[in-house]
Amino acid sequence: MNAHSLDTTLSAPASLAAPAPEARSTPPGDLAIWFFILAELLVFAVFFAAYAFARAQDVALFNAMQDHLDRNAGGINTVLLITASWCVARAVRAVCEHGRSATGAHWLAAAIACGGGFLALKCVEYAGKFAAGISLSTNTFWMFYLSLTFFHFMHVILGLVILSILWLQTRRGGYGPGHANGLESGAAYWHMVDLVWIVLFPLVYVMR
């Protein structure tokens, strides 16, 4: 009955179909994940724009409240996320260029450890803020701080779930040169999570 039995020589569904096995596709990974990444970036972009708009209404409040943020924790978290991204990139290279699944899996495990460190440190930060009685309704700055960072926090969790799946698959030798679509897609998603933080940290913690 179904479409599977159709003549597959037609090039019709090229753009969303799996890439040709031998060549590295551009962009790497699945096109669908790029739609998803763009949509996610758009949501954050609108959130950042809203932050900028709200800050412009009350710069003094935002500056005063910003002083209560722990820039050291934020800085360490930035390093952790960038390191995680580096590890992921090394993992992709190990698997896709050299076909070394075991090495790739180690790099992914290191990335997961860094991501876990990010979550732990962020929890410590949240605990401090909640202990100080800060909530979404305290004022506009804290509303944005909590919303933006928590929304990002959820993305880190999702990213770690994805990395864990990739780690399991890579350990089993599920990817290799020419067949690493899933690995590259997951890696692209993780880089997005990292990229958002690289904008979020200076915007909310540092910029005055």
Binding site: M1, L6, A50, S137, S147
Partner: protein, 472 residues
């Protein structure tokens, strides 16, 4: 038709169309009451007509979704329905309960109806769209559970495709969120807060999953594009839907007494709600452009494309118009909302149900597609209904803009009823356009009775043998 049990879809589709006619008639009655206030008073007061209009809409769409699911799930799962007999029993229960409820609305004063149906045991009545008596609500839950039981077991014993999983996820979500209609707290803020969990999380959440699954199914059938490609799009679309739609509920929480952060959350997330609808339009056109066959049912293809465009305009663009808190501050509860409601419901849900009916009904009647003449009449109905809905929306938008201006924005605001008089011209134009919509609906019903030589799939698939489900 591939599986005998798919035939249970047919009565569901027929009932859906029957109730659709009722919905439109009551729409015309209340449209006239906007300008001739005592029309049919006291037999059918405005509030009753409105309740019947909106309740019939929801019930016929549910009939449509159920028919669609009974048609699609066996075919997707490649197995007969678990129990066709249960499906037929539930059909009659749902139809009789629905009809009795409407008769109750029309014959008995609402307060009396509440008293008669045990509203004092558990007060659930009196809230917009959820006006149904307790008995009806319980009936809906029983029907929904039986329906989901039947479909889930069918799915479990057969092939699991992404389309049927997304469809089932949407239908389970529909049933689960309906349970909030039983929660009716004293606190008005809480009441409204959870009321939206039914209303918003249906139409801007789980129903969109159903919509996506129906559209994907019909597109696979009429275009012959690889399932893998269509399913990937479906996943992208439902992910976008859930990212934007769930927290997007916040655009209803601006003025009901919830914390202020909802103004930001609601504005930001719901501002992005047009994206999945836009993706759906691109998806539909893309798939039709890449088609590997020219399916003889051109009417179904037209409905599918129309769903994409009109859902984007009605739900996406007209929703965005008033979704930002600073705008909504002025437009809340004006005719802008009515304009959005009309085009969104028509474009997204009415059209997708008509799409699946258009595709499935000929198959259920033993042919790949209706005769050319019947399809021409059906396409006339498509254009008549769609264009009149565009004008209904434009007239209501004009009425809404004027209303906002005269009643809320101006330096010397006028009272509500004075403004209603001022904008009555637009209500008249809306009513005339509504009559044209009814003519379109009459043409739609007539298209089922137009004879002529039925098309077969083999004669028009440019020689690619064995690709259809339909008898050739």
């Amino acid at each position: 038709m591939q599986y005998k049990s798919q035939a249970v879809a047919k009565p569901y589709f027929i009932a859906a169309i029957g109730l659709f006619i009722g919905q439109i008639l009551f729409g015309l009655i209340m449209g006239l009451q906007y300008v001739v206030g005592d029309f049919l008073f006291p037999a059918i007061p405005f509030n009753i007509a409105r309740m019947v209009h909106t309740n019939l809409l929801i019930v016929w769409l549910l009939f449509g979704f159920m028919g669609a699911a009974y048609y699609m799930v066996p075919e997707e799962s490649e197995t007969e329905l678990y129990s066709p007999r249960l499906a037929m029993a539930l059909f009659w229960i749902f139809l009789v309960a629905g009809a009795l409820t409407i008769v109750g609305y029309l014959m008995v004063p609402y307060a009396k109806l509440a008293e008669m149906t045990g509203n004092d045991l558990l007060a659930t009545m009196g809230r917009e769209f959820l006006e149904q008596p307790l008995l009806t609500k319980v009936g809906i839950v029983i029907v929904a559970l039986g329906f989901l039981f039947n479909l889930t077991l069918t799915l479990l014993k057969g092939r699991k495709t992404s389309i049927s999983l997304v469809l089932l996820m949407g239908l389970w979500g529909l049933a689960v969120f309906f349970l909030f209609s039983f929660y009716n707290p004293e606190n008005l803020v809480k009441d409204k807060f959870y009321w939206w969990w039914v209303v918003h999380l249906w139409v801007e959440g789980v129903w969109e999953l159903i919509l996506g699954a129906l559209l994907a199914f019909v597109l696979i059938k009429v275009t012959g594009v690889d399932r893998e490609v269509i399913e990937k799009w479906l996943y992208v679309i439902i992910t976008l839907t859930l990212i934007t739609g769930i927290i997007g509920t916040g655009h209803h929480y601006f003025w009901i007494g919830t914390p202020a952060y909802w103004k930001w959350w609601g504005s930001i997330f719901s501002a992005l709600e047009p994206i999945p609808f836009f993706a759906m339009t691109v998806f539909a056109f893309n798939m039709v452009n890449r088609r590997r066959r020219d399916h003889p049912n051109r009417a179904a293809t037209l409905w599918a494309l129309g769903t994409g465009v009109m859902a984007f305009l009605g739900a996406g663009v007209w929703g965005f118009l008033h979704t930002l808190a600073p705008v909504n501050y002025y437009t809340h509860g004006t005719q802008i909302t009515a304009a959005h409601g009309h085009m969104a419901f028509y474009g997204a849900y009415v059209m997708v149900v008509l799409t699946i009916i258009s595709y499935a009904m000929p198959v259920l009647r033993g042919r790949a597609a209706n005769s050319n003449r019947a399809q021409v009449v059906e396409m006339w109905s498509f254009w008549l209904m769609t264009i009149s809905m565009v004008f209904i929306t434009l007239f209501l938008t004009a009425a809404g803009v004027l209303q906002v201006w005269l009643q809320r924005f101006s330096t010397s605001p006028l009272p509500f009823m004075v403004v209603q008089d001022q904008i009555s011209l637009f209500y008249w134009m809306r009513e005339v356009t509504g009559v044209i919509f009814l003519l379109g609906l009459v043409a739609y019903v007539a298209s089922f009775f137009v004879k002529g030589e039925a098309a077969t799939l083999a004669s028009s698939t440019s020689g690619r043998a064995g690709i259809g489900t339909q008898p050739a």
